[in-house]
């Protein structure tokens, strides 16, 4: 365990990346499912942008609001916490994941809880709360349909919005059959009907409802939850105790700002105008209310986030509103899916966020290489986080810390020497022409030893010409000058 105490640092995030990638690439269903769904989500987003007026103005506003909030997080978080307390809620600040887990356990013990119904919460995945609850003999049931499927399969989410994107109907029918003893046909309607009934019982019998928080509103201390299924409403309405676990950066200053981020989130995530249910919860049930939780507890988590504050390059990563638009457009994510990243957060945002939150450049930092640096993530981001730049900076950081492989370091060192010296450069290009000869067939390099094989296993590489561009330049220059003269006359 590393010294900064994140609840669970996956030591294999980096070393396992290649084998996970190979595994994902050989899974035909996974690749098709991920490509299909991400395409659908992407086109939904493009359509929604179309009908929304000046999308660029919205992005600018989203970025401005999020940046302003994070720049003044000490003020807004203080204001938010004061208002939660004023509204009758209890606030706990948790520096690390294990602090948040302990706080939750205390609340569960005080309430003699045996059953916890969970709304979708990436933060609870981040701190591995389910595993800890299991150890204490408390049942924690995921109630988002996708998360429920994954819980039965004992897997982790592979997409921020559609967590079970990699599972097909046959697999889901089998999971439900195994769990219930009844037989299920692989039909969406049948499966959904079973899940509705089954999960309804959990909503009714749970001692505690646990949710994340999409946005806290500082001016009122309100918790905003969005969900399409309605499970977020169930777990925050029916059980007597509602516990919220939220990242400390999930805030907007006012209701006016909330309008902006709600619009951006729904349109960027699924292309909806608004998510089906937006619940803005202020305190536990009020006097006179005949339903709603009697207790509200809000656990505010740092877990590596504050390390990004004040960082000129990475602070902006805290602006993220978790819409997953960057996943849907990422050529790497679209091929390998979420599990390949080996972390709770996948895709471009995961490749940036994971090493930063875990403060681990050695293993988690390797995720920065799971990217083609094409910049599609930045183009799609509703709050304009320059993820592609951050990926380059992370790679830079890894190099500076001498955490890259020795052959790579040697290779780049020689590269630097050769490209910095004209004689060496000329010698290298000349000799490369002769050295490639044994590999060339019909003007192409069709296979080669590593690292060249990384290229040639999926496409051919054109051979280096005898005369380099540099050598030709003298003759080319004269030709250009001649053409210019002729052109001038005409």
């Amino acid at each position: 365990m590393s010294g900064h105490g994140n609840t669970a640092v996956d030591e294999r995030i980096g070393t396992g990346l290649k084998s996970r990638t190979r595994h994902a690439l050989s899974d035909e269903f996974l690749r098709k499912a991920v490509a299909f769904t991400t395409d659908k989500l992407k086109s939904g987003r493009l359509q929604a942008m179309d009908t929304f007026g000046d999308w660029e103005a919205w992005r600018e506003r989203g970025k401005a609001i999020r940046s302003h909030t994070i720049d003044n997080l000490d003020y807004y978080l203080g204001q938010f916490a004061d208002n939660v307390v004023k509204g009758g809620g209890h606030v706990y600040f948790a520096k690390e994941g294990k602090d948040a887990v302990r706080t939750f356990m205390d609340i569960a013990e005080r309430n003699k809880a045996k059953l916890v119904a969970k709304g979708k919460s990436m933060v609870s995945e981040e701190i591995h709360l389910n595993q800890e609850l299991e150890k204490k003999g408390i049942d924690a049931i995921e109630t988002d349909l996708g998360e429920y499927i994954l819980q039965l399969a004992r897997e982790t989410p592979s997409h921020l919005i559609i967590p079970a994107i990699h599972k097909n109907k046959q697999q889901i029918a089998k999971l439900f059959t195994d769990a219930s003893g009844e037989h299920f046909e692989p039909e969406t309607k049948v499966l959904a009907e079973y899940a509705r009934k089954k999960l309804r019982n959990y909503f009714l019998e749970a001692d505690i409802g646990l949710t994340g928080c999409n946005f806290g509103v500082a001016e009122s201390g309100s918790i905003t939850l969005v969900s399409n299924e309605g499970n977020g409403r169930m777990v925050s309405t029916l059980p007597k105790v509602h516990v919220v676990v939220m990242g400390m950066e999930r805030l907007v200053p006012t209701f006016e700002d909330l309008e902006v981020v709600l619009n951006l989130l729904a349109r960027s995530a699924t292309g909806q105008k608004l998510t089906t249910y937006t619940s803005i919860l202020t305190g536990p049930k009020a006097s006179g209310d005949l339903d709603g939780p009697e207790e509200l507890h809000v656990i505010i988590l740092d877990n590596g986030r504050s390390e990004q504050l004040g960082d000129p390059i990475f602070q902006e990563v805290l602006n993220c509103i978790r819409c997953a638009a960057c996943l849907n457009v990422c050529p790497v994510y679209r091929h390998v899916g979420g599990h390949t990243y080996g972390s709770v957060y996948s895709g471009p945002i995961g490749a940036v966020l994971t090493p930063l939150l875990q403060q681990d450049m050695k293993e988690a930092g390797t995720l920065a290489y799971a990217s083609s640096l094409c910049g599609a993530c930045y183009e799609a981001c509703p709050v304009k986080i320059p993820l592609h730049d951050m990926l380059v900076h992370l790679r830079h950081r890894k190099v500076k810390m001498k955490l890259t492989a020795l052959p790579e370091r040697v290779a780049f060192k020689s590269y630097q020497t050769i490209f910095g010296n004209i004689t060496l450069y000329k010698l290298a290009t000349k000799s490369a022409y002769y050295m490639q000869k044994p590999l060339v067939r019909e003007g192409m390099i069709k296979s080669g030893p590593p690292p060249l094989s990384g290229w040639t296993q999926s496409r051919f590489m054109p051979m280096l010409p005898k005369q380099s561009f540099r050598d030709k330049w003298g003759a080319l220059q004269q030709e250009l000058a001649r053409k210019r003269k002729e052109g001038g006359k005409a």
Binding site: G53, A57, K86, A164, E229, E259, S279, A286, L290
Partner: protein
């Protein structure tokens, strides 16, 4: 702020100082800032805020958006509203074989007077008030007599057995076809959540363009956070999920059928 009409006892705060001091220091301040930061901008872009619509356009917009989400809309004149709403409720119940419904204890809904004609059709009604379920048998909990649910309030348990919920939203948002529901005593959250079908009845003059306008009204009505309703829900269409092979499923946890009656 003593003397204000706090509805709730204050909560508690744990572990604040070290946490907040760390944030302040990371941001280059000695102590956490207590002064509201300068705000050069707030909320949505101006071009979006400045759009306007006529009453008729609002209705059209709401209808177009609501039906696109598979919702149904009925538009009625003020004078014929009581009869039309009662008939519509009976029609929905008949269509889905519903025999028990719940509704907000809301003066506008009561004024429509549909309880009697609906009951006459053999349909039980659970009004959302303390004694609303006195005459109703909510039956046993899923886990039987030993379950936690069995010990909960009779009203809540009865509402869970109803298959249609009727509400009078505080506002309706035309550009997204959202219903804005502010919770309070007679306006229970469960009524719009636990049933298979939802019916919202409201006046055309409750239509606003943006969700932000509903928020403005909310804030004006409850300027002090301590007095705010425990829940403001925006409901935009039926409960849905795409979690099984991205196949759109309607009615996964909340109501799968959504109806609206707009009174002109």
């Amino acid at each position: 702020m003593s003397g204000s009409s706090d509805k709730r006892a204050h909560g508690t705060m744990t572990g604040r100082d070290a946490f907040m001091n760390n944030i302040a220091s990371r941001l280059g301040r000695r102590t956490p800032s207590q002064t509201p930061p300068e705000r050069p901008f707030k909320g949505v872009p101006d071009f979006y805020r400045e759009r306007t619509m006529t009453r008729e356009e609002h209705i059209e917009q709401f209808m177009a958006n609501w039906t696109a989400l598979s919702g149904k809309v009925l538009i009625v004149e003020e004078a014929e509203a009581p009869a039309a709403v009662a008939a519509y409720i009976r029609q929905i119940c008949e269509e889905h074989g519903i025999t028990r419904i719940t509704r907000w204890e809301h003066e506008q809904l009561i004024a429509l007077g549909f309880d009697e004609p609906v009951r006459a059709a053999g349909i039980e009604i659970v009004p959302w008030r303390e004694d609303g379920a006195d005459a109703i048998d909510p039956g046993l909990s899923p886990s039987g007599e030993t379950g936690l649910w069995q010990q909960r309030e009779r009203l809540l348990r009865a509402a869970e057995t109803c298959r249609l919920g009727i509400v009078w939203p505080d506002y309706a948002v035309s550009s997204t076809s959202s219903l804005a529901l502010f919770s309070s005593g007679g306006k229970g959250r469960s009524v719009s959540l636990l049933t298979d079908a939802l019916l919202a009845v409201f006046h055309a003059d409750q239509l606003v363009m943006r969700i932000g306008e509903a928020f403005e009204h909310f804030k004006r009505q409850y300027p002090d956070a301590a007095d705010m309703p425990a829940s403001l829900n925006l409901i935009t269409g039926p409960s849905r999920s795409a979690d099984i092979e991205n196949d759109l499923t309607i009615g996964i946890h909340g109501p799968g059928k959504v109806h609206a009656v707009i009174i002109k």
